[in-house]
Amino acid sequence: MILHGYLPAILEGLLTSLQVAVLSLAIACVFGLAGAAAKLSNSRAARMIVDVYTTLIRGIPELALMLMVFYGGQALLNYLVMKAGGEYIEVPAFTAGVLTIGFVFGAYMTETFRGAILAIPKGQMEAALSVGMSRVQVLRRITLPQMIRHAIPGFTNNWLIMIKATALVSIIGLDDMMQRAGLAAAATRQPLDFYLAVAAIYLAITTVSILLLSRVEKRFSLGVRKAEFK
């Protein structure tokens, strides 16, 4: 039998892992875009807040942050709820995991997106404004489409690091692929089989991600001539 009959259980865990990854990515992109916008804005306060955010996050290990948000966020939330006269709320591990990973990688995305926006020549945005486009139009027609091309290499990197970081959510008790593998390993006393299977699945995910994202990059780089060293 494949994996001593535990293959379906592991694949169920994979589904959880993928859900965590995709939802965290969405949150990270929102935080990243907002962070990049704030870092490039004229507001000093906004720049400072985001600077503190990116510096703090990048100075502390993801696992420590995850524990901090999981336990600390729970305590803070309940402190506030109790004060308002509410009842104790248990934050589900899934929510805590997704929010933490999204929040952490939002800091990395902020830097990626900021760099991508800076890579667009300023004159283009000025030109767009001068022909009467509104700020939103400039963003939609000029900044975003070009920014994607510059952001993809950094985005790919962040995504690969993030998908691997999802293995950590098992530590805060999430029922992901690692957790399932651990349970199956304990039940069958064959840990090597299960952890190797998990490694193979992660390798497959990263391989597919790299292939897909390099195609996206090609698509968005149509019309850009690469420098040729000949």
Partner: protein, 241 residues
């Protein structure tokens, strides 16, 4: 709101954890750097029998989570009877050894790619010049390629070192009492979130910026030739005379 007595009371534990974290980091980075130089040379070799296996190694390691790698070594290897009955079992049953092995294997893969990239970035003329002087391949690597490639790799390597420092937190999952484990224990004993995780955050923060500072100094020393030149106006030059 913060119970300082908990923080002060657990400081000795945190410093003990710091020692474990630093020791793990030091032995992993040192062995990783030592291994990745020859592996990087093999990685850029035109001989596929040398280059391909190294490519496969870095690809597999960089494509899987460190936590999984550590669990394969710490929990998985115990399943293999051959290992359990050999002398090596005395090592593999030690969490310390497994963590070091997993971290070293992991950082070696990333560092190999960093150094290989730096090797590839060598200007072609330098190699031609060295060959025209009759240098052997070994001399070429020792005198020309490696000294400049290792310098070029420094900024990226500093990122890897910081990443590895953060990765040592994963050792807390296999019974090692590092900084993160201490924080979890303090939290479990006192249910003091801010005290436990706030303190560990400060520790990691200081560590991160100390590492970055050390690498800044190293860059100043070894990448001196790349530093932006300070503007010297003709007038300054005259005064300097």
């Amino acid at each position: 709101m913060i119970d300082w007595s908990v923080v002060v009371g657990s400081l000795p534990d945190f410093f003990a954890g710091l020692k474990v974290t630093l020791l793990l980091l030091a032995i992993s980075l040192a062995s990783g750097l030592l291994l990745s130089v020859p592996l990087a040379v093999a990685r850029v070799s035109p001989n596929p029998w040398l280059a391909k296996p190294v490519w496969l190694y870095t690809y597999v390691i960089r494509g899987t989570p460190l936590l999984v790698q550590l669990f394969i070594i710490y929990y998985g290897f115990a399943q293999i009877e051959f290992i359990r009955e050999s002398v090596a079992w005395n090592l593999f049953r030690e969490a310390w050894f497994c963590a070091w092995l997993a971290f070293a294997i992991n950082t070696t893969a990333y560092t190999t790619e960093i150094i290989a990239g730096a090797l590839r970035a060598t200007p072609h003329g330098e190699i031609e010049a060295a060959k025209s002087l009759g240098m052997s391949n070994f001399d070429l690597y020792r005198r020309i390629l490696l000294p400049s490639a290792l310098r070029r790799a420094l900024p990226q390597y500093s990122n890897e070192a910081v990443g590895m420092m953060h990765a040592t937190a994963i050792a807390s999952t296999v019974t090692l009492v590092d900084l993160t484990r201490v924080a979890r224990d303090v939290y479990a004993n006192h249910l003091a979130t801010v005290e436990a995780f706030g303190t560990v955050a400060v520790f990691y923060f200081v560590l991160t910026f100390s590492l970055i500072g050390i690498f800044r100094l190293a860059e100043r020393r070894w990448l001196k030739h790349l530093r932006p030149q300070t503007d010297v106006t003709p007038a300054d030059a005259v005064i300097a005379k």
